[in-house]
Amino acid sequence: MFGPLIVKPGSSRKNKTGSWRTELTPKFLKKNCTGCKLCMSVCPEGCITEGSEKNQLICDYEYCKGCGACALVCPKGEISMVKEGEKENK
């Protein structure tokens, strides 16, 4: 008999930390992106991934905590930190 001892890999995905975002959320403008992937490399959650199209970076909002590192680091100003609810607007 062992009880709770070992954890399966990647099981943290159950925890949707996207609910942590209180004020701001990153909006990907889909205008200026050159595909440099700097945003991907600075996300502590690893929730930015490459899309299927060219120069398409997608944020997984289920996990994004809204820290804003991606917006700060983007050299083309492609990412904007906006109020929650505004990211859907054009």
Partner: protein, 296 residues
């Protein structure tokens, strides 16, 4: 797209430099990696039962023995004839490395195990609530080195861990920063290509402990490097082979005023001068001043 090795859903603070650094380290190391983790923020926020962010084999034992447990893992892999195809990483925070973990680390380095040791330096015992460690910088305000009527914060300088580790004669020693992600990954990859003990110390911004906004984490980590307070250096076989040069070192005041843990110094030019001296010494010692303008 390569497999994600550090899954989202962990409970690190938003903007945590250590979670970023940990993700970068394991991504650069690949799936054939076993990680041994000390107790600390990283261990706690990434593996709270029943959730784990790690997609690679991972073990946590105690606060101070990651280097020793990793030595056992490495020895076992050597016995099985598998060491050449599997990376072993022992990692921990600054407290778990430079203070309580120093004995185990020294033993591991001296015995020449083929292990990469990663120290996530957020400059205090953060997981227990921001207490001073051996790597807490001069004049930093922590709960056990608080600024007060008779104190301007931590009275000691950072323990020179890279030098201590270097003195063990190991093949690769480097410092890195959560503000320079590509440089960090390059160093991790470089380390794994070398046999023997390796040490990388990563300056990891801590919004909670350093008292700044989550989104400023990257910028502040960058500033630490650009003022000369946290030189990014690389040693191979005892020789300094690389530094990140700074074309125009920024004054330490810029770095200090951005963080709550140093704000008590801003009306204390005497203390700021002492910290500027630390930065200047680093710039001199490692030759950080660029001859020509820096291309980032």
């Amino acid at each position: 797209m390569s497999k994600i090795l550090f899954a989202p859903g962990h409970t690190a603070c938003a903007g945590c430099g250590q979670s970023l650094a940990a993700r970068l380290v394991i991504d650069a190391s690949g799936p054939n990696t076993i990680v041994v983790n000390n107790t600390g923020c990283l261990e706690v926020f990434s593996t709270k039962y029943p959730e784990s962010a790690w997609e690679i084999p991972w073990i946590h034992s105690l606060f101070e023995n990651a280097a020793a447990v990793a030595s056992g893992v490495e020895a076992a892999l050597k016995y099985l004839g598998k060491k050449d195809t599997i990376n072993v990483i022992a990692q921990g925070g600054d407290g778990g490395t430079a203070d309580i973990g120093l004995q185990a680390l020294s033993g591991m380095l001296e015995r020449g195990h083929d292990i990469l040791y990663v120290c996530y330096d957020n400059e205090a015992y953060m997981n227990t609530g921001i207490q001073r460690s051996g790597l807490t910088p001069f004049d930093a305000n922590t709960t056990t080195s608080p600024m007060g009527k008779q104190s301007s914060g931590n009275i000691r300088f950072k323990k020179p861990m890279p030098e201590i580790v270097l003195a063990h004669g190991i093949p690769y020693v480097a410092t890195a920063s959560s503000g320079f992600p590509q440089d960090l990954q390059r160093k991790v990859k470089k380390a794994h290509s070398i046999k023997g003990p390796k040490y990388i110390q990563i300056h990891a911004a801590c919004p909670l402990g350093w008292r700044h906004a989550a989104q400023d984490a990257l910028g502040i980590a960058k500033l630490a490097v650009e003022t000369g307070l946290y030189p990014l250096i690389e040693y191979e076989n005892g020789k300094l082979v690389g530094v990140r040069k700074i074309s125009q070192p920024k004054p330490v005041e810029e770095y200090l005023k951005a963080q709550g843990r140093f704000k008590h110094l801003l009306h204390n030019p005497q203390e700021v001068k002492k910290i500027q001296e630390i930065a200047d010494k680093n710039i001199e010692k490692y030759g950080l001043k660029a001859a020509s303008p820096e291309v980032s």
